[in-house]
């Protein structure tokens, strides 16, 4: 933790502060994307920045995702540090050509003669009718691509530190945010600070089982940990934080201690973080020492209707039940008694 003035900030405030401070520090940082200069300012994360830094540095773009990604890459080649914002991660799919064929390849393909310092912000949608095309969390696709760094900070503290680190990084970084994390509040240092990319974070200690979450699933893991206390189980909770590079060592070390590992992806399961971590664990011949399982989205597009959407996602109750089953396969099934509601789902009543 960083010393100095700490205040409570919300997740979007932390992101905005990071961008604001970096833009003040470094004239080469520019911010572009659909709606970054509009009255709503990307859910508040870019609000006021166009007025403060001018419209040459903060600008709206046409609805041309692939083309504008290429433009951002071109600017990065000329040593600007663009931050390209997408209000939904789904729209990255239109920019896949520039992201995968160009941004991720260039440094290697040209023998380290150049680099692409680019941040791509991608917000994942959930709940209240986002539906199949506004809720995707596409990091498994991107984890398969060498040359991209991928982070998914969960706390406001990490959001700020990771954003600053991502901006200063000389490589393309996919910076994943989650719409429902925008309701998180937490301590954030006023001064600029860095959170390294590529390191997982242990959020809560416990000897019995290791729960690993990605993005908003970390919050569900923390809630599951509370539920499990009813049964006397004390879970360790790890925020994976970085998907690429993936910090499997921190996870495996914890799992060796607890003997049980449950990975909860914020995505469909095939080729996702859980699959990768468990594969690495098996390659280390630890599959006898550690009991493992994974959870994630139902393997269908996300349905719009709330009655099916709630079945689609893992949640704290299901994570707790699954963890209990793993630990006590012979005991009769248990369910948390006092189900807590999720304030962010109560607060969230609008799509954009």
């Amino acid at each position: 933790m960083i010393k100095g003035a700490m205040r409570i900030l919300s997740y979007p405030q932390a992101i905005k502060e990071a961008i604001d401070q970096e833009m003040s520090r470094d004239h080469s940082v520019i911010l572009l994307g659909q709606g970054v200069d509009d009255p709503k300012g990307t859910l508040g994360t870019t609000k006021g920045l166009a007025e403060k830094f001018g419209r040459e540095r903060v600008f709206d773009t046409p609805l041309s995702e692939d083309g504008m990604t290429g433009v951002a890459i071109g600017a990065a080649l000329a040593r600007l540090r663009p931050i390209h914002v997408h209000i939904r991660m789904d729209f990255l799919l239109l920019a896949m050509n520039q992201i995968v064929n160009m941004a991720a390849k260039m440094r290697y393909m040209f023998g380290a003669t150049l680099s692409v310092p680019l941040v791509i912000r991608a917000i994942i949608g959930k709940s209240w009718g986002q539906g199949p095309q506004h809720s995707q969390s596409l990091y498994p696709l991107l984890m398969n691509i060498p040359g991209l760094k991928i982070v998914a900070p969960v706390t406001p503290y990490d959001a700020k530190g990771c954003m600053i680190q991502s901006i200063r990084d000389n490589n393309p970084v996919i910076f994943m945010e989650h719409r429902l994390l925008y309701y998180q509040k937490g301590y954030v240092a006023q001064k600029p600070y860095l959170v390294p990319l590529g390191k997982a974070r242990i959020l809560a200690r416990g000897p019995d089982i290791t729960l690993v979450g990605v993005s908003s699933m970390v919050i569900e893991c923390l809630r599951a940990r509370e539920y499990l206390r009813e049964t006397g189980v004390r879970a360790e909770v790890i925020d994976l934080l970085s998907l690429s590079p993936l910090d499997a060592d921190t996870v495996i070390k914890s799992a060796l201690k607890t003997g049980n590992l449950l990975v909860i992806d914020n995505a469909w399961l095939p080729c996702a973080a859980g699959a990768e971590i468990i594969a690495r664990l098996c390659e280390k011949n630890l599959s006898r020492k550690i009991k493992f399982a994974r959870m994630g989205f139902a393997f269908v597009p996300c349905p719009t209707t709330p009655s099916l959407e709630k079945e689609f996602y893992p949640n704290a109750e299901r994570i707790a039940i699954r963890a209990f089953q793993m630990l006590f396969p012979r005991k009769k099934p248990w369910e948390p008694k006092n189900k807590k509601n999720r304030p962010e789902e109560v607060l969230f009543k609008g799509p954009f």
């Binding site: 709206d60 046409p62 609805l63 009655s307």
Partner: protein
């Protein structure tokens, strides 16, 4: 203009307006747990174009699709049930307001990703030509879609292969809060369409008869094999980009911009062309349909858990 056509126009305009007003009225109760992109203010475009189409013709459109869906004859109950997320919805609740579909009426399914249905419309038109069918496709999209590669690639191919498709750009000047001229160098959407090799025409004032005439004339040619054509309809979204409210407090557009379109409301214009009795009959019939549709949706059940994993593949 003949009275039958005026009656049809009025009935559809009234149906769309009143249905969306009902959505606005109910929205604060949170019974519709889904974003809605309302068509209010833009109804005339869909109504005019869809009236010019024949029943077997097809339409492709966007998340702002309530008007197109209803104008092409899409089932009202299935639409409202879809907004409510119920099992009798046109997509069993799996799609919601942004993904309306009614294949029996030629409504091909709307998409929430800008520009994505334009090439689909062109591909469908290719298949129609391939099968020597005489049906045509109308493809609706906004001024924002013009920014996308899909738009340009699709127009080029449609012209190259002389495909039976009418492109309909609903230019309401905004993509969310971003003005058309802050995204495009000049106000030249029609010129761009022409440069790909198709006739194009702009209708500036939202006049339903003008749109109808232009669309009909182009459709006649398209049906004879002329290849694609393009109309750009200047129009105005009265409400916020998504949701039931006004958005003048945001300051990205002035109240007057919308006010002049409200004075030019096609619904008012049709109303005065009809005698009270004819109008009364149309209105009371539609009010009943709308009431029944919302009641139906309310009573309908949500899809059960067993629906979650169904429908992924056709096998």
């Amino acid at each position: 203009m003949n009275t039958e056509l005026i009656k049809k126009f009025y009935a559809l305009l009234f149906l769309i307006r009143r249905t969306e007003e009902e959505i606005i009225r109910l929205y604060p109760t949170d019974i519709i747990k889904s974003p809605v992109h309302l068509s209010i203010g833009q109804e005339a475009v869909s109504v005019a174009v869809c009236q010019a189409l024949k029943p077997l013709d097809l339409v492709f459109g966007t998340y702002r699709g309530h008007a197109m869906y209803l104008a092409k004859g899409g089932n009202l109950r299935s639409m409202i049930a879809e907004l409510y997320g119920k099992i009798s919805g046109c997509a069993k609740g799996k799609g919601g307001s942004m993904h309306l579909i009614d294949l029996r009426k030629g409504v091909m399914g709307t998409s929430a990703v800008v520009g994505t249905t334009i090439p689909l419309a062109v591909g469908y038109a290719y298949a129609l030509k391939y099968k020597n069918r005489n049906d045509i496709v109308a493809c609706f999209f906004g001024d924002g879609a013009v920014d996308e590669g899909d738009f340009h690639e699709a127009l080029n191919f449609a012209a190259l292969k002389k495909l039976p498709v009418l492109f309909v750009c609903e230019n309401n000047f905004y993509a969310i809060h971003s003005h058309h001229l802050s995204r495009h160098h000049s106000d030249n959407i029609c010129e761009r369409a022409k440069s790909y090799g198709m006739p194009a025409m702009r209708i500036k004032d939202g006049d339903i008869f003008k749109i109808y005439k232009a669309a009909s004339r182009y459709m006649e040619k398209i049906r004879k094999g002329s290849g694609p054509a393009f109309i750009e309809c200047i129009t105005c979204r009265w409400k916020e980009h998504v949701g039931p409210g006004d958005d003048f407090h945001l300051g990205y557009r002035k109240k007057e911009e919308v006010a002049c379109w409200k004075h030019n409301d096609p619904l008012d214009k049709m109303r005065v062309l009809l005698d009270d009795k004819a109008r009364g009959l149309i209105e009371s019939k539609i009010e009943k349909e709308i009431e029944a549709a919302f009641l139906f949706a309310q009573k309908d059940s949500f899809p059960g858990k067993n629906e979650l994993l169904k429908d992924l593949f056709d096998d």
